[in-house]
Amino acid sequence: MATILEIKHVSKFFGGLAANSDVSFSLEEGMIMGMIGPNGAGKTTLFNCITGYYPPSRGEVIFKAQKISGLEPDRICRLGMVRTWQKVRPLAKLSVIDNVMVGALCRTNSLKTARELAMEQLKVVRMENKPDFPAGGLPIGEQKKLEVARALATQPQLLLLDEVMGGLNPAESDEIIQLILEIKKGGGITQMVIEHDMKAIMRISDRIVVINSGEKLAEGTPQEIVNNPEVVRAYLGDFHA
């Protein structure tokens, strides 16, 4: 298995404060990497550094053997890495299918092709029955799925999901878990998932990286993470209390 993403000693400072300091890990093709950590640990900041929203203050991000830190998000998307948002960002006045088409247009100039690609992705997230519904009017669960469909439509090799289950009920979360596993089974797409729901993350991840106070606390298989005393002390213990 080849390495698809390598994060090398990434630090991000805001003013004097370090939101991330010296974080390193890497992703193998086809895997699901889970990322956990308490609120404010710097997970989303790390996502922003990886996807080009902030340039890292130090360190570099290597995607498919190419240095991407410093590139703009749109370039990074066209290279094959796409993210979803913790707080959903639907293109509210556009319809469901138009939202996904915007993603698909990353790979084609033809609206017809884009519409076909978008319809395929809507089927993947099981929303093919309401393509013309305005995205802003969808319930939160469907907005989250729409985000995933829109991201998939850009035909990524690496998909970064930022708390895609946040705010969902158990049934909806379960649907997302199935979706993530299906994407993995489909092959060709590596995923990195920020999640709060410990059960979910243990179930889907091949490996997990734990971020605490902006630093990498631990990395390993779900089993190793559960048995890591430091993680238990810093995060899990807290979580179960």
């Binding site: 996807t51 929203y53 703009e72 998000p73 749109d74 370039r75 998307c77 066209r78 796409v82 993210r83 948002w85 960002r89 639907p90 293109l91 509210a92 006045k93 556009l94 138009d98 088409m101 915007v102 993603g103 247009l105 990353c106 100039n109 609206l111 884009a114 829109r150 991201a151 850009t154």
Partner: protein, 358 residues
Amino acid sequence: MKSTLALIRTTAGTSPVATALGLAVLAGLFLFPSFVKSPYTLHIMILFFLSTIQGEAWNIIGGYTGQYSIGHVAYFGAGAYTTMILMQYKQIPPWYGMLAGIGVALVVSLIIGSICFRLQGPYFVLASIAVAEIMRLSAINLKDITNGAEGILITEIPVFKIGNTVVTDFLSKVPFYYVGLVITLVTILVTWMVQNSKLGYYFQAIREDQDAAHSLGISLPLYKNIALALSAVFTSLSGSFYAIYIGYIDPSTVLNLDISVQIVLVCIIGGIGTIWGPVIGAMVLVPLSEALRSDLIAGMIFKTGLTSEGSAIGTFLKENLAHAHALIYGILVVVVILFMPDGVLGWVKKLTVQKGRG
């Protein structure tokens, strides 16, 4: 003509009735001058065309892309001044001047775009006003080129010939009517093409959520610049057309910030981000401002008997309503923004939806 047909068919829906209606309107517009000879009516129609062109043009950057420019008079003035200066001092006919005007407007748009579109926030609005003001002050100060505050007056337009055949001598309002109509149709057609292309999707994605658009592979500066450039081209065309039609320009008529507000108003009254919004906006605004200017409204108030022409209020109305159009614009902006932010079109849509439900 074929594409115009396609435009009508698609925008009016595929129903044959709508298509027939669209064709009838189009035919009516082309035959209009054969039936209506009144120069004043033709003048109103030409003003309506001008307003529609400006509204549609602003709509591309403001309505579809969501980047409000309150300095669009810069492109209007660029078109007007370039065309007039070339015609007056270099004897270059206005149809070439229009192209030169487009060139100048493009340069101005790229300057504004490259400064502002790297930044998020209100900078674009501010910078677009600043550039418009720089142009107005330059037009006043660069007397050798622009004739300063006195402005440029042209007395005759060269005869338009293709080969040796005289097409028109521009002596009546009819040729202007047709030029205005054609530019209007082209502008609407281009807007329609934009809306139904990748560009339109990308523009609207930027309007709805810049960060999301950015994450989906859309280069924000690139597409905002394209939208602004497209918008500048047609605004400049309207400026050139206005200048040749009126035959006189000065900094306070073609580079006045009020024009920028008026352009935005056409759009927001009709409904921004829609093809027909600016058309409807122009249909509301042009007659309204003409009625104010020609004392029609004061006359109507007297007729209703609310107040008489001789009374103090009557004299006040008669004297001031003609100058009050800017006040009315102000009130309209406030009312529309507070109570019908989606314009007339959005308001009608809402009404029909409610009716459908009830």
